[in-house]
Structure formats: structure tokens, C-alpha cells
């Protein structure tokens, strides 16, 4: 009966979400207080029913109820318990239900924590969230029902979860990523509600900003986890492939990064309003586009679930309604651009505008590269694929363009600034970064132009942050006072920019100095790689809970000293027969050693082996984690609570 209860709860969630879409929205136009007040209980109800529905699907997986199609296709009685749990979202139907649950959770969170909003705005924001909920719950129910039954032929055992997904990284990657993806719906709902009400101001930005920063932080962490998982699980040591589905999550991130910065301008200075609204619409639309690309199977990708044109059609139509509808509304209601340019050339506004333009151009170039194969196919020009070289060629220069401004942006004043206030510090920054760029590469493999440039850029960013702190210290203040005075959003910005600097160095160093060898190795063979010697001792059988395989034993030496033993595996999963590479990694702050086994060659115990030396590769994930946590830290800023209450009362007085 579990499936029927789950289905019933999902239908109830659809009904509550429909109520949430219609009743408060109607109330906001009819000035019907009770109807607007219904938003909160309706949001709670749709969350409650989604959670129950999701709970029943989890129960079905944990109980090995193979009468359900999704359980039969994606689980197995031998699967360890925590993978049975994560198998819930290791398939299309279940992950859609997770998506819906995350959406309802955001809606409920907005209902709980934004009750200081003016009543009309509150009702409309939740109504818009409700409408998105209707779209996705409907998608789940009508095109990808997770509770469909395998009747009357119930399989004796399940076909197993794809072994690639049997991994701790996959337990957390999808939920965190969805928190980010779906979280942009809050920024979108605020934008639509503001357009409907025609009230777009600094207060609006202040309300919408913490939600946007939170969603952006989650998306950053989600993408980071995906990259890390691909690195150790796919067995070829890559960390970013410009795969269409990676791009699908990266485009909303790029637009979201622009949004996070432009919201700062709108909040602090009350300008860029129309632009900010447009970015909020764009970020969420790109999230939807990403969903469409992943779920329709139109693109070849490691993430594509089995293709189903009906699903693709549903999301495409939904995407057109959302994008089309919101752009029409934007065209009709966006405030005229004449909010006036009240800032001088040398001002933080100008620099942030530059940031926005760069991120937007980057988004568009990635979008173009991702859609190019679809476009050519639709025009009958053949089946093209656009490879990483394209994306690297367009993306890297754009990011490099950003950095000079990042080293200045934090300390340039709003509205108007004079360069002579900080010229001498800028000179110090410049000298320090050039010196670091020239000298630091010698800590590694010696001088390399690209590494030198990346160090130069990263140090320039960090020097900019330090200069800002130095400029904030005036007169007789102690450092303690200066540091204590800074709010959480300031420290969030510092951490995120520091993380970005780490990513810049890591990406370039690992690309330039990565050493990779594919070899044939017999037991007793050893191979030299970047000063490390790898000795292969042979491979023997190994057995796991739901797989059998071979485990190789390698020892790594540096200058004759033994530093690590690495045991990569080649597994064959029993239920599906699928073969999987389990790489062995000796992780370190300055470098990773990475060993993966290809296949057994011949009778003398030889294997094809892949050896990697990856300098500073961890800095990328540490840096990305800093960026994500930077987003979260800004939420702690007292300003959002204190001023929010004040603004709300002001807004009510105006209403």
C-alpha cells in the first residue's frame, strides 16, 4: 500500500500547491486579507504532503519493494542500506520527487522566515512559488510517476543501482545541487512579485538578497561536489569536462554570480533595478533549461537518463511559459531605465557593472557552446559536438579579464572615489603580485608562463582584500576594532574572493603540471612520474557486499622513501554485471597521486594502469567550498534582520 499512500500524498501536494497559486494571488488583487493569509498554511501543507510522499518512496526503497518500477530498476536486495537510501534519487522519477520536495521546502522556508514582508508581497511571492510547484508536481505525477507498479510480474530482485552512483559523494551531491538550482526560484518569485506590484527598491533587494545568496552558496557546493565525485569515481582523473549537464548547472551559477553582485548594488545604492530583476529571471530560467537538457535526453551526456520525448516536451512547454511569461511581464512592468546614473566613473557601481557584463558574456558563450549541437541538428547540419577546447578558449580569457577588477573592487567607494586615496597601496599590490608570479612557480616545477600569470592574478586578488582592510583602519583604531566592526556579509565576500583566488591557481597549476601516464605494468614493474616512483606488486581478487573484483597493490616512493600504498580496484557488480574502476588516491594539500586500473592484459598478471600526478588539485575544491560558505556567511549579517523589520514597517506605512 506504500505506493498508493505516496501517490495520494503527491496528489494532495498538487492540490495544496494549486491552492497556493490561486488563493493568495487572488486575495492580493481583491484586497482579501484572509485569502492572502492562507499562503502560509497552504505552503506548509504542500511541504507536508511532499515530505510524506518522499518518505513513502524512501520506505519502498529501504524495504526492497520491487513491485515499484523505480525500485525494481534501480535497487537490489544486496545493495548496502545507505545506497538504497541514495538510490531514491539515483533515477529520473525519484530525483524529480526530490526536486519537488526541495522546492516545497524552499517555499515553506520563505513562508516561515519572511513573514515580516508586506502582506501583498508575501502573498504574491508564495503564490509564484506555488505555481512553480504545480508545474513540477504535475511533471512528476503525469510524466514520471515514481509510484508506478510492476504488475503483475513483480521481479524477484532489482536490477541494481548504477555502480557509478554507489558512492558517498552521490548521497549528498544531488540534494545540495538541487537546493541551489531550485533555490533560485525564490529570487525569481521575488522578482515576479515585485514586477506585479511595481515596487522595486532597495528594500526589495534586501529581502531577496539573503535567499539568493543561500541558493547560490548551495549551487556552488553542489557543483563542487559533482566535480570532486567525477574526479575520484569516473577513474580518469578529470575534474571538469564541459559536459552539457555540467554546463547546465554552471550557467545558472554564472548568471547567479552576476545576480549576487548586482543585488548588492541594488541594495546599497538603489540602482541597477531592472537589470537585477532580469538576472533573477535569467538565473531561474537557466536552471529550468538545465533541467530540460538533463531530463529530455536531447544531449549526449554522462548524466542523461533514458530519453523520453514526452518529458522533454513537458519541460520545454513549462520553460516557454515561465520564460515567455516573465519576460512579457518584465517588458510591461519593469521600471524605466532612467533610474539615472548617479555614480562617477571611478566607483564601485562601475566595477560591479563590469563584473556583471563579464559574467553575462561568459554565461552566453557557455550557453552557445552547449546549444550549438542542438541547433545544428535542428537545422539538419549534422551531429556536432563541441569539446572542452572551445569552452577553455572562451571561458579562461573572460575570467582573466575579471581579476584585475577584483583586486580593486573591494575598496573602491560607492558613488565616487579618488584614486589618490589608494594609489600607493595599488602599487604595492602590483609589485607583490608580479614578484609572487615570478618567484612562486620555482616552488613547483620551475618557471612556467601560465602558472606565473595565475599566481600573479591570485595574489592580486588577495592583495586587494588586504588593501581594503588596511584602508578601513583609520586614525588610532586598533586592528581588533577594525576587524570587529566588519559585518558578516563583508567576511563572506572576503572568503568567497579568497576561494576564487585559490581556484585560479589550482586550475592553472593542475592543467599545466599534471603528469599522466597510461602504462602496461607487470608485477614487479615500476614507473617514474614527476619524481615519484610507482611500484606495482600485482593484483589479487577482492570481494565486496555486492561486487567481486581485482585489487592492485602499488607503492609510491619519493627519493627512495616509501610514502604511500595505493590499492585501486576493478569491480564487477553482481546484479548488473557492470564493470567499474575504483581509483586509489593519495590525497595531499600540495598534490594528489592517483592510480586507476584499466584491464588485465594477458596471462602474466599484467594490467593496463593509469598513473597521475596532480599538483594543487585539492585547492580547487577547497576554494569552491570557501566560495559557497562565503555565500552562507552573508546570511548571518545582522543587517538583514534589523533593517528588514524596519523597512517592513516603513513599507506598511506607505501602503
Amino acid at each position: 500500500m506504500i505506493a498508493e499512500y505516496g501517490m495520494f500524498a503527491l496528489i494532495m501536494a498538487l492540490i495544496s500547491a494549486s491552492g497556493l497559486t490561486l488563493i493568495p494571488m487572488w486575495g492580493s488583487y481583491a484586497s482579501h486579507g484572509a485569502a492572502m493569509n492562507a499562503a502560509k498554511p497552504l505552503a506548509a501543507a504542500s511541504f507536508f504532503f511532499c515530505a510524506i510522499s518522499f518518505g513513502f518512496l524512501v520506505a519502498a526503497f529501504l524495504q526492497d519493494d520491487f513491485s515499484l518500477v523505480v525500485v525494481g530498476n534501480n535497487s537490489n536486495s544486496m545493495l548496502p542500506m545507505f545506497y538504497k537510501f541514495s538510490a531514491v534519487w539515483g533515477n529520473h522519477e525519484g530525483s524529480m520527487l526530490l526536486w519537488v520536495l526541495v522546492l516545497c521546502s524552499w517555499t515553506f522556508a520563505v513562508a516561515l522566515f519572511s513573514s515580516e514582508l508586506p502582506q501583498i508581497l508575501y502573498a504574491r511571492v508564495l503564490s509564484v512559488m506555488g505555481a512553480i510547484g504545480v508545474g513540477f508536481i504535475g511533471f512528476s505525477l503525469f510524466t514520471s510517476n515514481p509510484f508506478a507498479r510492476n504488475l503483475p510480474d513483480i521481479p524477484a530482485d532489482g536490477r541494481d543501482l548504477n555502480p557509478l552512483l554507489q558512492d558517498p559523494g552521490l548521497i549528498i551531491h544531488p540534494p545540495i545541487l538541487y537546493m541551489g538550482y531550485v533555490g533560485f526560484s525564490v529570487a525569481f518569485a521575488f522578482a515576479i512579485a515585485a514586477l506585479l506590484g511595481g515596487r522595486l527598491d532597495a528594500a526589495w533587494a534586501r529581502w531577496s538578497r539573503p535567499w539568493t545568496n543561500a541558493a547560490w552558496g548551495f549551487l556552488t557546493l553542489g557543483i563542487m561536489l559533482g566535480s570532486w565525485w567525477a574526479y575520484y569515481e569516473l577513474g580518469w582523473g578529470g575534474w571538469w569536462f564541459w559536459d552539457p549537464v555540467e554546463n547546465a548547472s554552471f550557467m545558472p551559477w554564472l548568471a547567479g554570480t552576476a545576480l549576487v553582485h548586482s543585488l548588492a548594488v541594488t541594495e546599497k545604492r538603489g540602482v541597477f533595478k531592472s537589470w537585477t530583476v532580469l538576472l533573477a529571471i535569467a538565473s531561474f530560467s537557466l536552471s529550468l533549461l538545465g533541467t530540460f537538457l538533463v531530463r529530455s535526453g536531447v544531449l549526449t551526456s554522462v548524466h542523461a537518463f533514458a530519453a523520453d520525448p514526452e518529458r522533454g516536451m513537458y519541460i520545454l512547454v513549462f520553460l516557454l511559459v515561465v520564460v515567455g511569461g516573465s519576460l512579457v511581464l518584465y517588458a510591461l512592468r519593469a521600471p524605466a531605465v532612467n533610474s539615472g546614473i548617479r555614480n562617477a566613473w571611478l566607483s564601485r557601481e562601475t566595477l560591479l557593472l563590469f563584473n556583471n557584463v563579464v559574467f553575462l558574456v561568459a554565461t552566453l558563450t557557455v550557453l552557445f557552446g552547449t546549444l550549438f549541437p542542438l541547433l545544428m541538428d535542428a537545422l539538419g547540419q549534422g551531429k556536432y559536438s563541441v569539446g572542452p577546447p572551445y569552452f577553455n578558449a572562451v571561458f579562461v580569457p573572460l575570467m582573466a579579464l575579471l581579476v584585475p577588477v577584483m583586486g580593486v573592487g573591494p575598496f573602491v567607494r560607492w558613488r565616487q572615489d579618488k584614486a589618490n586615496r589608494w594609489q600607493h597601496y595599488l602599487l604595492v599590490s602590483a609589485i607583490a603580485s608580479v614578484a609572487a608570479g615570478v618567484l612562486l612557480p620555482f616552488l613547483g616545477e620551475g618557471f612556467n608562463l601560465w602558472v606565473a600569470l595565475s599566481v600573479l592574478l591570485a595574489v592580486w586578488i588577495v592583495m586587494g582584500l588586504l588593501t581594503d582592510l588596511r584602508l578601513k583602519k583609520t586614525g588610532a583604531q586598533s586592528w581588533r576594532q577594525v576587524l570587529g566592526r566588519q559585518g558578516a556579509s563583508y567576511w563572506g565576500m572576503m572568503l568567497a574572493h579568497l576561494g576564487f583566488a585559490m581556484c585560479v591557481i589550482s586550475v592553472v597549476v593542475v592543467t599545466q603540471w599534471n603528469v599522466e601516464k597510461d602504462l602496461r605494468m607487470e608485477p614487479g614493474d615500476s614507473a617514474e612520474l614527476a619524481g615519484y616512483r610507482f611500484e606495482f606488486h600485482g593484483a589479487g581478487p577482492v570481494t565486496g557486499p555486492n561486487y567481486r573484483g581485482d585489487e592492485g597493490v602499488f607503492t609510491a616512493y619519493v627519493e627512495g622513501k616509501r610514502i604511500a600504498e595505493l590499492r585501486p580496484q576493478k569491480r564487477q557488480y553482481l546484479a548488473s554485471g557492470q564493470v567499474m574502476t575504483e581509483a586509489a588516491i593519495d590525497a595531499g594539500f600540495t598534490r594528489d597521486l592517483y592510480v586507476a586500473m584499466g584491464e588485465a592484459l594477458g596471462a602474466d598478471g599484467a594490467w593496463s594502469v593509469r598513473l597521475h600526478y596532480k599538483p594543487l588539485v585539492r585547492w580547487m575544491w577547497i576554494g569552491a567550498t570557501f566560495i559557497g560558505f562565503g555565500g552562507f556567511i552573508t546570511l548571518l549579517d545582522r543587517r538583514y534582520r534589523r533593517v528588514r523589520a524596519k523597512q517592513a514597517s516603513e513599507a506598511l506605512a506607505h501602503a
Binding site: A307, L353, V361, L364, T365, K383, Y384, V579
Partner: protein, 144 residues
């Protein structure tokens, strides 16, 4: 000119310059970095360019995989049942590479009609077939 107009003009100019730079980068990036898919039948018919970066995909012919005893060189045939192309590859093959499975290889065709691959992609789970391969097989009249 009015100072505000002047500023606006400068902003428009900046946007134009940056987006042209973007378009320039895109055009530069696309040159030589996109590759077209050819089914084996089209390669056999001589429709595929020689020495250019392309992709070829189909099913790996049963019994066609030949490995070198001393290196990681491997040779196999890819077919869409309307044509068969020999493929040379050096390196580690993906986990799901096997005889009778769908693969897509990226590389260049040499003068003798051998496809020298620098990358071989197999499907990543047993239910999934690369769309190009599925279509090529369908075009050749082979349903899967």
C-alpha cells in the same frame, strides 16, 4: 554633450566592445574545436574528411578486438551494419567498452581508411545508448 548622455554612450560602447570580444572568442573557439559525427556507412562511402577531427560511432564487432602484447595499443571494428570501420586506439578503454556494445570514438581518419582515435566513449549504463549511435543504427535499418 550632456555628461549623463556621455556616460551612457560610454557604457553602451563598453558593452559593445565586451560583447564583440565575446563573439570573437566564440568564433575563435569554434574553429577546429567542434567535430561532426559520421556513421561507419558514411565513412566507407568516402563522405568523411581525411585528417580532420571527427567522431565515428556504432557497435563494436564481435571478435574484432585485438590487443598488442607489449603496449596499450588496441584495434577493433565499429559497425552500423551498413559499413564497418577499423579503429586504432592507444590507452585505457572505458569500463563499459566491450564487443557488441555501442561506442563513440573521437579522432582522425587516415589515408588507409583506419580511424585513429584519441578518445573512446562507451555508454555509462546498460540501458543507455549514445543518441548518435542509436540514430545511425536506425538509419541502417537495425533496431536495437
Amino acid at each position: 554633450m550632456h555628461p549623463i548622455r556621455k556616460k551612457r554612450l560610454m557604457i553602451v560602447l563598453a558593452v559593445v566592445i565586451l560583447s564583440s570580444a565575446g563573439i570573437g572568442l566564440v568564433t575563435y573557439g569554434l574553429r577546429g574545436n567542434i567535430n561532426l559525427f559520421y556513421p561507419p556507412a558514411a565513412v566507407i562511402a568516402g563522405k568523411a574528411p581525411i585528417g580532420q577531427s571527427i567522431r565515428v560511432g556504432g557497435m563494436v564487432v564481435e571478435g574484432s578486438i585485438v590487443r598488442s602484447q607489449s603496449s596499450l595499443d588496441v584495434r577493433f571494428d565499429v559497425t552500423d551494419y551498413a559499413g564497418t570501420v577499423p579503429v586504432l586506439y592507444s590507452g585505457i578503454l572505458p569500463d563499459l567498452f566491450d564487443e557488441g556494445q555501442g561506442v563513440v570514438a573521437a579522432g582522425k581518419l587516415d589515408e588507409t581508411g583506419v580511424f585513429v582515435a584519441h578518445e573512446v566513449l562507451a555508454k555509462h549504463d546498460e540501458n543507455y545508448m549514445p543518441p548518435e549511435v542509436a540514430e545511425a543504427l536506425k538509419a541502417a535499418g537495425k533496431e536495437i
